[in-house]
Amino acid sequence: MLRMVGILLLMTGCIGLGYHTVSEEKQRIRELREIRHMMLRIQSEMTYGKRTLPEICNLLAENGEEPYRTIFRRIFQKAEENDGATLERIWMEEMENGLRNLPLKREEKTILKNLSGCNGIADENMQAAGVGQSLDVLTRQIDRAETEYENKSRVIMSISVTAGLFLSILLL
């Protein structure tokens, strides 16, 4: 009886670990899609709304999901305080803190972090084109992540079940 409980726990643990890895990958894709959605919003607010970056941050803070809502609210608030810090510095700091716990790769976080770096263009279309370039990189990253997810999820789940079985046999 105890052996059976042990095997059951072991299998649950292994499958759970596999499921966690797969869902983290799924969460990553969800986050990337959310970031793409926000970047599209930034682009359209630049071209059609001709809003400043702090104003756009305020809009994203009102309509966005967590943790982006908090990140953009803090950027807007700090920019409004006008203590002299550049928006690039505020943006980098807040992104660094806010994105820390998200299941994103370093290069994916960098896309969003670097977005405020190219803000010196005096033409809204050119400025939006700059965001568009980051958007292209992000879209490629999403495609890659989706393909990886499809391939990996089955493999990970198979490995976790096999590993569970293997460990059970080994411990018997």
């Binding site: 400043t52 970056l53 702090p54 002299g84 405020s116 005096a122 033409d123 809204e124 400025q127």
Partner: protein
């Protein structure tokens, strides 16, 4: 006008240098930054250099110089790091910032179709004009601008630098809020150069009254018609009638039941009458009152208020404003 308002114009690495100077915010009229040239400021109508330790000096050897990096940082900072959002203002050569202060820009112009300014690149000269809103300058003229409860069509005539825009702003505020001479009216203000309301991101930075609607950065002709169609103003206010188009748009507004409040460049009523586009307007007495501004002992004054027949209004005597 506070010390903070001046400091807020500059990014953090420049604030230390301007801290001492910002304490004179009330007297500060103008700050000029030119790449590679000493920083000059206009303080109580006197030109000074900003010294390296942040004070004022008349000695150019002690002056602080502006660098390219500093100018670009100031421009980026006042544009909220979003130059694209201010492209139209930059094209016109000036920006209005919170507090109603104006920053004139100069650099290399990029042309479109050979004669239209598409943009300004390599902005290397900034002229920061500090706005000092003066309230009450029109109080003495106010009783002459009503007939009963009715506001009269008024033209403010003034040479440059005699307070034409200040007078217009104060009249707009008075007509809008109402006074002992008449109730408050809905005023439609076409602020082509953001000088009157000093709007920043659409919000008026100067006190222009509680019943004033502003069409900011809009050409006068379009602005007047848009306001009439959309906001039903009792009074339409515009700055600097400068061509026949402006006058024609104004003449279309008057039959719509709007009262006109406008300004024009000129040293006298005769000088204005000689302007080709103003001849018919004056002959047909579209304006009921002409408010003539000038200077006396370096002070801006109302030199006279004239009626539709161009006669001095009875009871009026020259006064300081």
């Amino acid at each position: 006008m506070s010390k903070e308002e001046i400091l807020h114009i500059f990014p953090d690495f420049m604030r230390e240098k301007w801290k001492q100077a910002a304490a004179y915010a009330q007297q500060l009229q103008e700050i000029r930054l030119r790449v590679g040239q000493p920083v000059t400021v206009l303080l109580n109508n006197q030109e000074w250099f900003l010294s390296q330790d942040g004070g004022w000096t008349k000695n150019i050897a002690e002056a602080s110089y502006s660098s390219e990096k500093e100018l670009e940082a100031v421009l980026a900072h006042v544009c909220h790091y979003s130059l694209y959002a201010f492209a139209d203002e930059i094209r016109q050569g000036f920006l209005t910032i919170p507090g109603g202060h104006r920053i004139g820009l100069s650099g290399q112009v990029i042309l479109e179709n050979r004669n239209t300014v598409r943009n300004i690149k390599h902005i290397r000269y900034l002229n920061i004009r500090i706005a000092h809103e003066i309230k009450g300058v029109s109080d003495q003229a106010l009783p002459y601008l009503y007939r009963g409860d009715e506001v009269l069509n008024t033209l403010i005539i003034s040479p440059p630098g005699c307070g034409k825009t200040t007078m217009l702003r104060d009249l707009v505020r008075n007509f809008s809020n109402g006074s002992i001479y008449g109730r408050g009216r809905n005023v439609g203000l076409v602020d082509e150069r953001s000088e009157i309301a000093g709007s920043f991101l659409g919000v008026a930075q100067n006190d222009i009254g509680i019943r004033t609607d502003v069409m900011d950065s809009c050409p006068k002709q379009e602005g007047m018609m848009m306001l009439i169609r959309s906001m039903a103003p009792d009074i339409l206010a515009v700055d600097e009638l400068g061509n026949l188009g402006d006058v024609e748009a104004m003449c279309q507004a008057v039959p719509c039941g709007c009262r006109m409040l406008a300004t024009i460049h000129g040293g006298s009523l005769e000088e204005v009458s000689r302007k080709s586009y103003m001849q018919d307007v004056i002959k047909e007495a579209v304006f009921d009152r002409y408010l003539l501004l000038g200077k006396k002992n370096n002070k801006c004054i109302i030199k006279g208020i004239f009626d539709e027949e161009r006669k001095l209004c009875s009871g009026w005597s020259e006064s300081c404003c």
